[in-house]
Symmetry: C2
Subunit: 310 residues, 2 copies
């Protein structure tokens, strides 16, 4: 690492946990996080950006760690009343959390871009890191189930990942442009870390934005990814179901394979050490270590290993 | 009272207190409340109708009686976070209360009228009374102070009634039409009660809507008003300051005088019994009794007295 700028590609919970470790071993002000916005949804006339909020709240130290989203010690009084008013309330919103959605929605209506709003919110939470949405344009991850097409949040939260997945559609990917800051952050970084996030609906969405994948191929920086798959399964979220439904082998190796065209190094769990050779056969340096992040020490260790690849 | 329908004209806190008594001595389903919307304000991109909410929450039995507005046992977590996000937060909004504003705003955006939304909210709170906004059109009570013109809520809440009032302007009064249901409720009532509300910015606004004053003059029903002024002062709110600034004598008599063209009976407090003759000289029946509503019994007594005039 020469100029010390690190750019991370991130989804929600898994990425946020990794970033908790990274900010403890690397200067916050040199970290840029490019966040998936495919989960964004309009509910109750509010624009909700779940992954941006998880990353922001986590870096601000106010995330509800038990839930993995939202703000610690939040109440749900507005939400309960909305329920009484007949709203579909499958998407939980805490009262403090709601202020973020009100702020974002009001600013968007004023014509301010999501990236500017995200930066403002980061400043309001006194963050030194830079947080960037992957795009300021409309983009929606749609899950095509055997019963029809639904928003990713409906699949995950409303239906509790119970529907059979036929395929995944990135609505808006054809037109969506990356934020210029995202392309710059990839081009100018001294190292790039792909966080242990869902390779389809968190990192896959980011990679589907025109120009981002090419920027990752062209950057001089080394790119390292951490496998979100451990022993053929995931700690949280729908990656396993999604990969299986799409006919992708559910393994750490598959994740490396999905990133093969731009990846320099790949970190897999001790449980998957037998896949090291397969990954290296792709021309990617493979590092085997503990990737399960239970303690702060686990997170810091994983961050150190990732940094050592850059 | 023959057909038993009672229509009340109402502002916020004072009217709500009176209605608490009325619903205990008269069937709720025969009560229609026409509510002032001059206090309505857009804040944080939400449409807030303070008087409609006070009346609705009061009749639903969930009002915060100590504050006089909002919902009992509410939290203010969203509000506190909005403050952190740099919003002007002089207008307090509880978390439960916020749900009402979100609902109203979303419905208005869908093109649903304020009167329909008000009726829906009343139903959602299981009210049997009919609550009607005075108008579905834009209307804003503006206070012209010696420092400039401000919204009534800014005068009252933000500036704590400290500015010197030059005059009052009802923005929108020229164009605002009454809800048809309001005209019907006045024409078809067997009795009409003007609640002890501010005669300028609560009842005065209602009377400024084209057609309402005429309907009150033309209705066959008796109209009784309760004085909000007791011994030259008010229990709550800016009536005293407003009347003085507008060169109106601050007295119960003045209130009767303001309603003289449509009033049949007027209830004044024991403390103002010496004004009985002046009121009767206007051709209005005057009833002297206790009008200070401290207990439920006080409220019920006042409601009984009002009903006895109809």
């Amino acid at each position: 690492v020469t100029n010390k700028k690190i750019t991370c590609l991130a989804g929600g919970v898994g990425a946020a946990r990794f970033l908790q470790g990274l900010v403890r071993v690397f200067p916050e002000e040199w970290i840029t996080v490019v966040v998936n916005t495919g989960d964004d949804i309009e509910l109750y006339d509010l624009h909700i950006s779940p992954d941006i909020d998880i990353v922001t709240y986590t870096l601000a130290g106010i995330v509800d760690e038990e839930k993995g989203w939202g703000i610690r010690n939040d109440t749900f009084n507005c939400f309960t009343m909305l329920q009484r008013y007949g709203y579909e309330t499958w998407f939980n919103i805490g009262d403090k959390d709601l202020a973020t959605h009100l702020y974002r929605t009001e600013q968007l209506k004023k014509g301010i871009s999501l990236s500017e709003i995200t930066a403002k919110l980061a400043r309001l939470h006194a963050l030194k890191e830079t947080i960037l949405p992957m795009t300021n344009d409309e983009f929606e991850t749609r899950i095509i189930t055997d019963k029809g097409e639904i928003h990713f949040q409906e699949y995950m939260v409303k239906h509790g990942m119970q529907d059979n997945i036929v395929s995944v559609r990135f609505a808006g990917a054809e037109r969506a442009k990356p934020c210029q800051e995202v392309i710059n952050a990839i081009a100018e970084a001294s190292g790039i870390i792909v966080c242990p996030s869902n390779p389809i609906v968190s990192i896959g969405t980011i990679l589907s934005i025109k120009g981002i994948r090419r920027a990752l191929k062209e950057t001089k920086a080394n790119v390292v990814a951490i496998s979100p798959i451990i022993a053929g399964t995931v700690v949280k979220g729908p990656a396993e179901k999604l990969m299986r439904s799409l006919g992708i082998e559910v393994s750490a190796f598959s994740v490396a394979d999905l990133y093969e065209d731009f990846l320099d190094a790949f970190i897999l769990d001790n449980a998957d050490k037998e896949q090291k050779e397969r990954v290296e056969a792709l021309g990617i340096k493979a590092i085997v270590t503990n990737t399960l992040m239970k303690t702060v020490e686990d997170k810091m260790h994983l961050a150190e290993v990732a940094l050592s690849c850059l």
